[in-house]
Amino acid sequence: MSLFTVFNTAGSSLHAQTVRLNTTASNLANADSVSSSTTTTYRARHPVFATQLKDGDDAAAGVEVLGIVESQAPLRREYQPNHPLANQEGYVMMPNVNPIDEMADMISASRTYQSNVEVMNTSKQLLLKTLALGE
């Protein structure tokens, strides 16, 4: 019964979207984590999604998270000479987190999560009705 594999497929997507929500939370939480050098500053993190292909089963294509990449966008420099972490020139380095991008990402992740939960619910109902066939 291939309806059972729907749970694996939708479940893999739920996991991937959870990872995405986690990175978004981490990015937003660290949006103001300043540092004095470019090497130690927090950089925005984003998951890389890929289709999970199984041998011999074309239809059941789930999602996997290949890894988390750090954004290579330039860091923001702010002149705050009184900041305890300011460097010799009086600058602090701010993370390259874009809160607007993060919010959009968060909404997209939650929508996809919802639609996958719906898919699971529908499949569950269909399976339950199939089990009650002929009663």
């Binding site: 291939s2 239809a59 997209s108 109902q125």
Partner: protein
């Protein structure tokens, strides 16, 4: 073709005698009709659409779907090649479970061709069709049961 009296030679003999006056034989394959196959096909399609919905945010993912018409034709056995000699090999016109690629109406910049609304609509309609087949099947089973019990 499975007869209800399979594997029971005595019962077979009885049916044989019985057939002379009445030709009652219940073939479950015929009784349930095309709905059993439809259920299998629908559940397979649900899987494909679920995969599309799972990969809404995956770059370069190509949305897929299955063609109902070719599946129906193959289930009804109408897509056989015409043979002019009995020794000719028979083949199927098309693969009933063949996965096709959906044509996107609005291409995305990341190469993903899933359109979430379309997929959701397809999934919902597929689920309804599944349920319809289920109900028809259930009705047939009830009919068979009342025929067997002779109520």
């Amino acid at each position: 073709m499975r007869r209800i009296s399979d594997g029971d030679s005595e019962a077979d003999a009885n049916t044989h005698l019985f057939k002379e006056s009445h030709t009652v034989s219940i073939s479950f394959d015929n009784a349930l009709g095309i709905h059993a196959q439809a259920l299998a096909w629908r559940s397979q399609r649900a899987e494909v659409i679920a995969a599309n919905l799972a990969n809404v945010d995956t770059p370069n993912y190509l949305a897929r779907d299955m063609d109902f018409q070719s599946a129906l034709a193959s289930a009804q056995g109408s897509d056989y090649l015409k043979v002019t000699y009995p020794a000719h090999l028979q083949t199927y016109g098309s693969n009933p479970g063949e996965l096709l690629y959906r044509l996107p109406t609005q291409p995305a910049i990341d190469g993903n061709t899933v359109e979430e609304e379309q997929e959701k609509a397809a999934f919902a309609s597929n689920a309804l069709h599944y349920e319809a087949s289920l109900r028809l099947l259930s009705g047939r089973i009830q009919e068979l049961l009342s025929a067997i019990r002779g109520e």
